[in-house]
Amino acid sequence: MSKTVFELVKIKIIGDISSMISFMRGRSSKGRGFNIGTALIIGVILIAFGFMMVFSFGMAMVLGFQMGSEGCGWLYFPMAFVTSGAFSFIGTVFAAQSYLYDAKDNELLLSMPIKPFDVMMSRMIALYLLNFVYTNLLFIPVGVANGLLFGYNVITFINFIISALMIPMLVTALASIIGYLLGKLAKLIPNKNLMTVILGFATVGLLSLVIVNFGNIIEVLMNEISRVADWTAGHLHILFWYGLATSTEHSLKALFPGIIPILALTAAVSAGVAAFLSRHFTAIVTRKTAMKKKKYVRKPLRRTNIQLALIKKEVGYFLSLPSYVMNAGMSTIMAILLGVGILLRGSVISEWLPTFFPDASTNLLGLAIGSSLALSCTLNDVTAPTVSLEGRTIWILKSTPLDPMKVFFAKALLAPIVCLPGVCFTSAASAIVLDLRVIDVLFIVFIPVLACMFSGFLGVCVNLKLPRFDWTNEITVIKQSLSVIFTLLLSMFFTAIPFTLAIIPSAYLEDFSSLWAYGICIAYFLALVLLELFFLATEGKKIWKELG
């Protein structure tokens, strides 16, 4: 492989890392506050990685022990191969599209005296490295658990190392070709954004289902491990022999029939994909799809007031970006799930609460549902990137006769607008299924909206303090900016406080009326919103003047 490929890989990796660190920071890289912020995010990422590795290790120990005791220890590595490969594939199939085909510098590089094959290979190697990290977050703990459960000999250890290198290679090849096919498919779909959002939520729903039922899945797997082993041995010979080659008992006997076919399969798939893509790479990355032109029909334009025009602009931007919808729409999904839960199991909840809090003088249902709904709304970080998202278009709002407060309001209102469908659905479900008073229903509607207003304004305040305008792709500010993470953590923290303060006396004090609890929560959020408005009207306006 030429030196250019490695140069390009180096540039890509350094670029990705510096862009990630840059976006984790705020407007400036100077100052202690920003270093603390960066450290905080790195800490969160490390904790998430650590959690995954510990989780994977625990699962491997439990399943491995069961396999060992039922005499099918050979199934241990094949199962790890499939699981870590699938996890890595899910993590990178969409990244393949952006790494390989939608990279902004593709055309620039192809116009230079660099072979298209070199450009493509550099992208695939970068993708391989990403896959390597994803795969081995699960696979390395599995290897450690294997050492503790079954031990290693020289052959099985080498096979483990080969697997750790080979799985990401196979996944890279598959993700690259599936990414290409998905890209082709997306061009055939008329409403691509809507389809992406539906598919995104379907994937999240499926994953949630797996997570919710994880205990059951593991239990079934443990009870049926012998049958799974028999079925694998009977139907998936390549995995069966791979399993034998990675188990100490049969490693020598199964070395060639176990490792060679899997190595050959990986090499053949990788080479095939590389050959296909290198042949068509220039055509793929430079192809432009002809868009069906919408015919303009002259009709009188309606007049809208300034505030509504700004709100419509914010909503339009939000709906135009599937990644934005999926990121912020989780709160609505959570709220709707809560409503579905109430519709299906409402009677259980209403019976369970008095049993759990026998001393409660008052009906806790309103407070419990209202607070759960408000907390689910705090998962909504939709306003946290709104200032940064103005990017290079900020001149439009800043050079027109607009009071900055109107701009801030439009941005902040996006939060309750996004949450409203979920809040309305759950409130309606509660009113129908549970025996609630009118005041309880009003609280269930009013308090999440207030909590949304609080988190909406908080997002604008935080983003004004930590804006980024040097992005090239909106996803970086929507997903990776410090502003989003701070808003999420702060809004969850501040929203949890009043409910804790209101639920404890409601549950344990005999004379504590639920009206008091409602009053505390409402006063608390109103006070916070007023504080945010004060900040925006003073400091916020000053910052806005300096932006851009």
Binding site: M291, A309, K313, G316
Partner: protein
């Protein structure tokens, strides 16, 4: 219409604009010339309230941009050198949005949008999302949004970049027509021939300082504007 008094703007230690004073009267087309980094864009951005400045004053129609930026902005429109617009909106929605911000009445906005979009030949593309527009089409849309609410002062930064010859010609006509109606146009350009032919007055800026200003004839004298510009630049270096 636009009065700039002793404007000074610094970026850290660098002085971008240094004690610059200018006055643009109603009905004038005023060209602003200078090499890259001379301070043209900074001066224009300060004049439309996009940038804060360190010293001096700027008045739009007699109103201080520092004291009352919103009143000033109601009277002006600004177009940057590379206008990024809301890519997710169709062209017509963007124009509707700008019309809403300026509070244009429905009849007026309808007339103006269609008159200008016909003039710049993009009416048939107005239903398309802006992200499908070419650079030139975006420039045309931004020009329509700048002129449609009939501002008293039009501030344009390199307005001819990306325009085809027909559109450039029509824009010059629109600038002249706006000035006939009492508006003023202040624009920066590198195209000296355009400045020479189009402008009533010209100002030359170098290193943040104004080195020449006056009517085009005064600045040019007997030489061409290009010769004058180059010799002034040389002296200033």
């Amino acid at each position: 219409m636009l009065k700039i008094e002793h404007l000074t703007k610094r970026y850290g230690d660098k002085v971008a604009v240094d004690d610059l004073s200018l006055e643009i009267k109603s009905g004038e087309i005023y060209g602003f010339i200078g090499h890259n980094g001379a301070g043209k864009t900074t001066t224009i951005k300060c004049s439309c309230g996009l940038l804060e400045f360190d010293q001096g004053e700027i008045y739009v129609d007699g109103i201080s941009i520092k004291e009352n930026p919103i009143e000033c902005k109601k009277r002006l429109s600004y177009l940057p050198d590379n206008p990024d617009l809301y890519d997710f909106m169709p062209g017509i929605k963007y124009l509707g949005f700008v019309a809403d911000i300026y509070g244009m009445d429905p009849k007026d906005r309808d007339e103006q949008i269609h008159k200008l979009s016909d003039m710049f030949d993009i009416t048939k593309d107005l239903a398309q999302p802006i992200n499908s527009y070419s650079h030139g089409m975006k420039q045309k849309l931004a020009l329509i949004s700048a002129f449609m609410h009939k501002p008293k002062l039009v501030l344009l930064d390199e307005p001819f970049v990306g325009l085809d010859p027909v559109a450039a010609h029509r824009m010059k006509e629109e600038m002249k027509e706006a000035c006939k109606d009492g508006a003023s146009v202040f624009f920066s350009t590198h195209v000296l021939e355009v400045a020479e032919k189009l402008c009533d007055k010209i100002a030359i800026i170098s290193g943040g300082r104004l080195i020449a200003s006056g009517t085009t004839a005064e600045v040019r004298g007997n030489a061409s504007l290009e010769d004058v510009f180059l010799s002034l630049e040389e002296k200033n270096v």
